[in-house]
């Protein structure tokens, strides 16, 4: 009898995400575990966590265990303006945990799309983000924002450049009371502050929010910019994806521009997917093409599968020295051929979870 290969939940996700990305023509990109430290020291703010594990290699070069995949892909791929390079990866990254302040090895799956990025590419990447979430759970939502539109709103209110970072922090926390008092302290007109806050508060499905945002941003933001955004998110929703517009979604403006998005799964307290357009990062790395991509954080998903695999083995088979090896193995193999997992032992270990016990010592079950 042919048996299914036993896979952990995370391995199943990796396989299903890989087959999803390859069905869209994305090529698996395999990279080295190490990267020159210089790459990260120049782009520290792009990294999710502070701290990089470094070591000196045999030639005296300072290397690092990868804390991020995107930077390596940009660095190591040749660019093209006339076409698009579509790559996906599953790689371990090494980051400092916010809670333990210690390094952790994390599995990250994701994709990058680099080159002549048009709206179709952006739509495809958003659709793949949404489908990635659905591969994990049907109870999911993809939040989408456009950092370009948000920055235009900040320009409209007149928030000075050096205050934008802090204003974006307030927006990211949906902390409208602090944003309002900040604007007041900066002498910004109440009407403009109210307009900004009103638009940020308009989160929800494109079907409900697009018209309201269109009305609120009229005369403030160039309609070609907003309509392009509305077209992509509305098309995504119309294809059956659970998508929300949420301008409180923010990313570092030194790296990201245009579309940014985060994916959430019910029951997992943090976002499990994060991505966006990072043309600004490309420029910083002396590349002239455009780029968009996202990563799925598989470590987060462990919380979703807490109750899976209730048993360590289907059967515990207890033997004694009087029985021949072949006799014991024959009995166990018979069950294994029926798709059962069998743990052969002289004594039942403490704490092991099993469905049945077969005691070969006296033939009792």
């Amino acid at each position: 009898m042919k048996q299914d290969i036993p896979l952990t939940a995370n391995e199943k996700y990796i396989f299903s995400l890989r087959s999803l990305y390859e069905s869209y023509g994305y090529t698996l990109y395999k990279m080295s575990k190490f990267e020159e430290y210089d790459l990260y020291s120049k782009n520290k703010d792009f990294l999710v966590s502070d701290g990089v594990i470094t070591f000196t290699d045999t030639s005296g070069k300072l290397l690092a265990l990868k804390p991020d995949v995107t930077l390596s892909i940009i660095k190591n791929t040749a660019g093209s303006h006339s076409s698009v390079q579509k790559l996906h990866y599953n790689e371990n990254v090494y980051r400092v945990s916010k809670n333990t302040h210690e390094f952790r090895e994390l599995m990250q799956v994701g994709l990058e799309c680099i080159g002549d990025i048009d709206d179709m590419c952006l739509y495809e990447v958003l659709e793949l983000s949404s489908k990635s979430l659905k591969c994990i759970s049907e109870h999911c939502v993809l939040d989408v924002s456009d950092i370009g539109i948000l920055l235009k709103l900040l320009d409209y209110t007149g928030i000075p450049e050096d205050e934008k970072k802090d204003a974006l922090r307030c927006i990211g926390e949906k902390n409208m009371h602090e944003l309002a008092s900040k604007c007041r302290a900066l002498g910004i007109e109440d009407a403009k502050t109210d307009k900004l806050i009103g638009i940020i508060k308009l989160h929800g499905s494109p079907r409900i929010t697009v018209e309201k945002i269109r009305r609120e941003t009229a005369g403030i933001i160039d309609t070609s910019q907003t309509e392009e955004f509305f077209e992509i998110v509305s098309a995504l929703e119309n294809s059956g994806n659970n998508v929300n517009i949420d301008f409180s979604l923010v990313e570092d403006i030194n790296y990201y521009n245009g579309l940014i998005f985060k994916g959430f799964i019910e029951g997992i307290p943090n976002s499990v997917l994060s991505g966006g357009q990072y043309d600004t990062l490309m420029k910083k790395m002396k590349r002239t093409e455009r780029a968009v991509g996202f990563a799925v954080y598989l470590d987060m998903l462990e919380q979703l599968n807490k109750n899976e695999e209730k048993f360590d083995a289907d059967t515990i088979m207890v033997y004694n020295d009087k029985l021949a090896f072949t006799e014991i193995e024959a009995a166990a193999d018979k069950l294994r051929q029926d798709g059962k997992s069998v743990f052969v032992t002289k004594e039942i270990p403490q704490g092991i979870r099993y469905r049945t016990v077969i005691d070969l010592r006296n033939g009792e079950v």
Binding site: V141, K174, N175, H177, H203, G204, I268, P269, N270
Partner: protein
């Protein structure tokens, strides 16, 4: 999936006051008023589950998703910087985070300033913004005695009325930030329970405006 709204409330007077606001907002749970040692209270009909936790732990419960929403002091949010939404200033539990020193203290800027505090992150960020070199002495309580015993030059701590400072011959030399209780939400919970959370926020806003 859990459809109940899980609320972490800070034990003590602030928690009781905030619960009354939640009750007025349409999320009552009469069993919470019973005198016993229970920590979790449910009202299935209203879809709400409350639990009392240590005030400084509320943000952790919310950030980690054990609670969907909660009420935490701004001091805790600034100190631990949890990845949550801060949806409302509840305008209660008001005090301020301040720098205090012995009366007549003169700050010698040519020397490293020794700062005793429970709030290391807040103190570090405050002096970093001023470009001042400091040495943080992390204490867990009775911060006020640090300058008196010469352990530190100043303290960074919460000041409510200032009576404790006065009684220990200390005075506020600078206010860092005003503090009050904030209504916070887990980011993921907000995506899936936004209707109930928004309804609650709206009602709390109304109550604050009255």
């Amino acid at each position: 999936m859990d459809t109940m709204l899980n609320v972490a409330l800070p034990k003590g007077r602030l928690g009781e006051k905030v619960y009354a606001m939640f009750e007025n907002a349409g999320f009552p749970c009469p069993s919470i008023k019973e005198v016993n040692r229970k920590l979790i209270f449910e009202n299935e009909e209203c879809g709400v589950r409350y639990f009392w936790v240590k005030p400084s732990d509320v943000a952790i419960y919310v950030e980690r998703g054990a609670a969907d929403i909660g009420v935490a002091g701004k001091d805790i949010l600034l100190e631990y910087e949890p990845d949550i939404y801060e949806l409302l200033d509840l305008d209660t539990g008001k005090c301020r985070m301040a720098v205090a020193a012995k009366k007549g203290f003169h700050d010698d800027i040519s020397r490293v300033l020794r700062v005793a505090t429970k709030f290391s992150n807040i103190a570090r960020n405050f002096y970093l913004s001023k470009g001042r070199d400091i040495d943080i002495i992390h204490l867990n309580g009775s911060i006020e005695i640090a300058p008196i015993l010469g352990l530190s030059d100043v303290i960074v701590d919460i000041v409510e009325t200032g009576t404790t400072l006065k009684e220990n011959n200390l005075e506020v030399i600078e206010t860092i930030v005003p503090i009050s209780a904030r209504f916070i939400s887990n980011k993921s919970s907000y995506k899936f329970k936004s209707e109930a959370i928004d309804r609650l926020v709206e009602s709390l806003e109304k109550q604050l405006g009255e």
